[in-house]
Each structure stands twice: as C-alpha cells, then as structure tokens.
C-alpha cells in the first residue's frame, strides 16, 4: 500500500515536471477602457502562439499606475514587463533592465524606431525601454465656428500670428463672461513654443549643462502664451481649463473653437455635435516647425526572475506585430516604429497623415533624472506667475536662472 502510494506520488510529480515548462509573465499597463483592447489582443495573440507562456495582466488607471509600480519596484517586486514613461528616472534608480544586449543578440530592428523617441527612453547611452508611440500634437478646429465667423480653415501655412488673429475673432463673450474661447492647449505644451521660436530650456534635453530659458527666444515664446491668456484673452488660464474639464471637454462642449492636443483625442471628439477637423500645428514666425516628441514605451523589470521569457514577449509586444495592433486600434497611438512600412500602413486613424507628418518635426522636451525637481521647484512656479499675468516672462524666468543653474550643477 505504502509502495503504491509513493509510486503514484512519484508519477504525479513527474506529470508536474518539465513536460509542461510553463513560464509565467506579469505584464502591467495603464489606460482608460477605450485604450485597453490592443493590449488585451496582444496578450491573447501571444498566448495563442506560445502555449507554454501564461501572461498575467496588471492593469491600473493612469492616476494610480505609478503609485503602485513605485511601491512594487521599491520592494524589488513588480511586473516583468511594464508600460513606462519618464524612463531616465527609473533607469537611474536601477529598476529597469538595460536592453542593448538583448537587442544585439536577437537582431531586434531598433533602427526602425523614431530616433527622438529612442533618445528619451535611454540613459547615458543605454536603452532602457522600447518606445510604443509618439505623441505629436495638432490643431483641432471647430469647422462650424469657422464658417459662422467667415474665416478660412487653418492650414499648413499658419504661423503664430494667424492662429492668434483667428482666436481673437472666434472668442465670444456673453454678459462679461467668455462663453467661447478661441483656443485651448495643454498646460505642459509650452516647450514646443519655445523651440518654435528658436529657443530652448536647456542646451541639451538629455544631457543638459546650461539653462538657457532666460534668453529672449524663450522668454518671447512664454510671453506670447501669457498674452494669449491675459492680454488677448482668447485662451483660458490653465487653472480655469483644468476646472472646466481640460481641452477635451472645452472643445467638445463648444467652449473652445480650437484645441491643440494629441491624437488620443480623436476618439473622444467623436461625441461632438458639430463638424471638426485637424490641421498641422502652426509654425514659428520664421517658419520653424517643432512638435513635441515623446510618448510611452515598454521596459523590463531589473528584478525580473524571468528575463529571457520577458524579452521574448517584448519582441512581440514592441516589434512589428504589437506595433501593428496598436496602430490599427480604435484609440490609435501614432506608432513609434515609423521605419516599418507595415506599421505605417496599419495606422489608418482619421487625419493620421497629419499626425505622422507632425511626428517628423518632433523634438525632445527635457528628459533627465533631475528635471522633475527643477520643474516643480522653479520653472512651474515662475511660469504660473506669467500665466496669471503677475509678472512678465523675462522677469519671472530671469529670477530663477541662478537657482536652476545651481540645481543643475548638483544633479549632474
């Protein structure tokens, strides 16, 4: 009896053995309900093609994703593969696995990706995540409002002044309250305008040595935005914008005639009960075209116990297969793998060509480990004074130059 028992035990153990080398991977991402289908499809496609792999999905909303990820990584735990932005900060804390060796070993076509995007997913020359998308912005406009005002629709010839003139004509007041603003834009878009004016925040966005935002090219651009809010009164203050539900809600509810924002809005603007279209971003006064480059990517946990399986999944997720699924999804993201013809062809979003063209003008916003602190402590408070009209751009930004320079020297 005893023998029989041990025999059956042994055979049971053998059945659990390496015949089914199950590998389990944990994959984490954020997204609102409309953004989730491509992630889910990639996971199920990969599982179908690799029956020996089980992928456990951890989804969190944007608002809580990083709180949880930070806690998990601090505990040396967390998902094997995860969706990530702000890569240098995580890389500097040694929480991301450097990917260059994996890429060389498996001949991963890294050359087909947006060059600018690759830069912000790196730290000190090492790549730590593979970009999924680029987030260029464009000018959404309410066609009905333009028709009613007798204005020509925006096109590629528009510069800053054309945009402002139209915004002035489209702004409507009712009993002393602005019932429709000419223009809204995201509160963190200001670097685009500085670069369109030939200026910048630092001499280099990735390896900065000098703060140059106090130079006229930069302060002029900041002043231009400040004037749109306070002098021309054609754009709401960013605080008011936030309280009114952001660019999406202001535009959809007809309280803004133009909105500068990214392709993620294509879906939610479908709710609008007026005709709208998308135009390229206006260019600088000397014709300079700049758009923001960036977007999120996928990284591998440095503490993962299953790195080879994780990389195998990443090749699918980040490569042509995954990129094609993301590009053809309803809530489309402008693909990062722009050098791949199949991926480009799959990107059929409305006005997709405009976004792809804008993607070519992409330039990086500052992205280095100490930048978050510098923004929070100095740049944002100075900008807030300009947005509120309390100080002009030159005064506000000159006054932080010394502090930022000091801080920058410390963080390097």
């Amino acid at each position: 009896m005893k023998k029989l028992l041990s025999l059956s035990l042994v055979s049971a153990l053998m059945m659990m053995g390496p015949a089914h080398a199950q590998s389990n991977l944990v994959f984490a991402y954020w997204g609102d309900p409309a953004e989730l289908p491509p992630f889910e499809q990639i996971v199920s496609d990969y599982e179908a093609a690799n029956p020996d792999v089980q992928i456990q999905v951890q989804h969190a909303p944007w608002s809580g994703y990083f709180t949880r990820l930070d806690a998990q990584l601090a505990a040396h735990a967390g998902p094997d593969v995860f969706f990530i932005t702000n890569v240098p900060a995580y890389a500097a804390r040694n929480q991301l696995e450097p990917l260059d060796d994996y890429i060389t070993k498996s001949d991963f076509p890294i050359d087909e990706y947006n060059k600018g995007a690759l830069q912000i997913h790196s730290l000190k020359g090492q790549l730590f995540s593979i970009p999924r998308d680029d987030a260029p912005e464009a000018l959404y406009y309410n066609k009905d409002a333009f028709d009613a005002a007798g204005l020509a629709y925006p096109d590629a010839s528009w510069d800053w002044d054309d945009m402002r003139d139209a915004a002035v004509k489209l702004t409507e007041a009712n009993n002393g309250r602005t019932s429709r603003y000419g223009l809204v834009m995201e509160s963190n878009d200001w670097p685009t305008w500085i670069m369109q004016n030939g200026g910048n925040i630092f001499d280099d966005p990735i390896t900065p040595t000098k703060f140059i935002m106090d130079e006229p090219a930069a302060t002029e651009a900041v002043q231009f935005l400040g004037d749109l809010i306070n002098k021309d009164k054609v754009m709401p203050s960013f605080q008011e914008l936030d309280q009114s539900g952001g660019t999406t809600q202001m535009f959809v509810s007809g309280q803004a005639a133009m909105a500068i924002t990214n392709a993620a809005r294509l879906g939610s603007f479908g709710d609008a009960n007026f005709n709208w279209a998308v135009a390229p971003l206006p260019h600088g006064r000397d014709g300079t075209r700049v758009n923001r480059s960036g977007g999120a990517g996928f990284g591998m946990n440095a503490f993962s116990g299953n790195k080879d399986a994780a990389w195998k999944f990443m090749q699918f997720l980040c490569g042509e297969a995954g990129q094609t699924i993301f590009a053809s999804a309803k809530a489309a993201a402008v693909p990062a793998m722009v050098g791949n013809a199949n991926v480009r062809a799959a990107f059929q979003a409305p006005f997709g060509d405009i976004f792809l063209d804008e993607s070519k003008n992409g330039r990086n916003y500052p992205n280095f480990p100490g930048y978050v602190d510098i923004t929070n402590l100095y740049i944002q408070p100075a900008l807030d004074l300009v947005w509120s009209g309390e100080e002009d751009a030159k005064t506000a930004i000159s006054s932080i130059e010394e502090n930022v320079t000091k801080r920058l020297a410390e963080s390097n």
């Binding site: 609102d32 309900p33 939610s268």
Partner: protein, 278 residues
C-alpha cells in the same frame, strides 16, 4: 407677542444659514446625480444644466459592462465590514486596558500609542507593502483587511469614552465576582454603544473611501475595491464623466445606508465622548 416675533426672527436667520449650508453640502451630490444621466457632451456646458433633456439611464447598466463593478462592490463590502468589526474588537480591548486597568507605565505606553496617530500613512506604505508581499498576501482579502485591523484613533476615541464610565460601577462588578472579561463584555461594552457606533461609522466610511492601499495590494480586477474600480474610468487624456458619476452614485449608496442606520449613535458618540468635531 414681541418675544414671539423675536423668536421667529432668529428662527428665520438660523433657517437661512442652515439652508446655505445644506446647499453647499448637497450641491456636489446634486451635480453627481445630474451628471450620471447626462450625455457626454453636456457635462461641461455653460450655463450648467441640472436636468438633461436626454436622460441616459442606460449608464446604470453600462457601468456593469465596462468594469467589474458588481464584484468591486462586494469586495468593498467584505473588506470594509471586516475592518470595521476588527477595529471594534481590537480597539475596544486596547481601550479597556488603557482606561480600566492599572499597570506600570500605562500613561507612557499610551503616549507612544498616540504617537502612531502622527505617522502619516504615506511613510508606512512601502514597509507595509513589503511585509504583505513577503507574506504572499497580494490580491487577498487578508492583505487588504489586516493592516487596518487596528487603529490608534479608534483606541483613543474608545478610551476617552470608557474613562467617563463611573469607577464605582466597575468596582461593584468586581465585588460581585466579575473578572475583567465579564466587566468588559457585560458592563463596559453595553454602556459604550454610542462610542462604538461612532467608531463603526468612522471605520466603515474611511475604509470605503480608502484608495491607496487597495490600489497597491491588488493587481487583479476581480479583487479591486470600488474606489480602485472607479478610478479605472479616469484616463490620462479622456474621462467618461457621466459613467464615473454613475459609479459614484452607486458607490455612495452603501455609505448612506450605514450612516442612516448608525446616525443616532454617531451623533451621540460625537457629543457624548467629549470629542467634538473629530
């Protein structure tokens, strides 16, 4: 007559003040209710509408399809009721020790205990997470419940209340042969119903609203509490406000029920415990 008129006048002033307070308190709830049935493009129009022309009652069905909302309600109920029960037991026993027993170093120990009130939860978040993870309690009910089974605030509240119970009563019980267990169970607890009711409401409501801990210790949708489930409706760029408000309406309901049931004990506990306001 004159006195009567004066009385009516003060009544009216009081009435107006209370009315303003009522509107200020109920305003957000009214907006939440109104938004929950609005079409998406009507949420932020100006002037704001209270009643929409096209009520979207199907939001109340849609929410159950979009996220596992029913399951999250059940999870929240399990977690919150367990924590409430645990806190009532643990805090009342600790409070009994601090209020009714005499032992060396009692006051010093109580001070240390109170110091725990001053430690912000953000500080203990990561250590707690590491502990729970090492116990293998990620995605489990015990992982959500046990870290909150004790509360220094609850102990403080109950201890203050227990101190008001006349010593003579406890001594009489002891003369009649009661040991501590009996005094605790048969004398102290029944006399402290208002304070226990207040603690129960505090515990339930604060846990019902708790977001950070359930967020980081759950990774699977089927273990999420209602706050975490609702937050998944909020995107980086887009938020379905009507659906979010629909969920909020449904999420507020249990809290409202608990409050109505425990209301009388709650108010008696606040005023009677010498603990006004907090």
């Amino acid at each position: 007559m004159a006195r009567h008129a004066r009385k009516t006048r003060t009544d009216w002033v009081l009435f107006v003040v209370l009315l303003v307070g009522t509107f200020a308190t109920c305003g957000p709830f009214a907006w939440m209710l109104a938004t929950s049935i609005k079409p998406g493009n009507e949420v932020f129009v100006f002037p704001p509408t209270l009643l929409t022309g096209q009520p979207q009652l199907n939001n109340f069905m849609r929410i159950f399809d979009t996220i596992p909302f029913g399951r999250s309600l059940v999870n929240s109920l399990i977690v919150c009721l367990s924590i409430t029960l645990a806190q009532l037991v643990v805090c009342s026993m600790a409070a009994y020790a601090f209020a009714c027993l005499t032992f060396r170093g009692r006051e010093a120990l109580f001070l240390v205990y109170l110091a725990a009130l001053m430690v912000p939860s953000q500080v203990t978040l990561i250590p707690n997470f590491i502990l729970v993870r090492n116990l293998g309690w990620i995605d489990t009910y015990q992982g959500m419940i046990l870290p909150f089974a004790f509360s220094s605030f609850g102990t403080f509240l109950l201890r203050q209340y227990f101190m008001t119970i006349p010593r003579e009563l406890l001594e009489a019980a002891r003369l009649d042969g009661c040991k501590h267990w009996r005094i605790y169970l048969w004398i102290v607890l029944p006399l402290s119903r208002p304070a226990l009711g207040a603690l129960a409401i505090f515990a339930f409501v604060s846990q019902w609203n708790n977001f950070l801990w359930p967020l980081i210790v759950t990774t699977r949708p089927e273990m999420q509490t209602v706050t975490v489930a609702l937050s998944t409706l909020q995107g980086q760029y887009n938020t379905d406000w009507p659906l979010l408000m629909t969920g909020s309406v449904l999420a507020v309901a249990p809290v409202l029920i608990v409050f109505i049931l425990g209301n009388r004990a709650f108010i008696a506990g606040l005023t009677g415990g010498g603990f006004g306001g907090r």
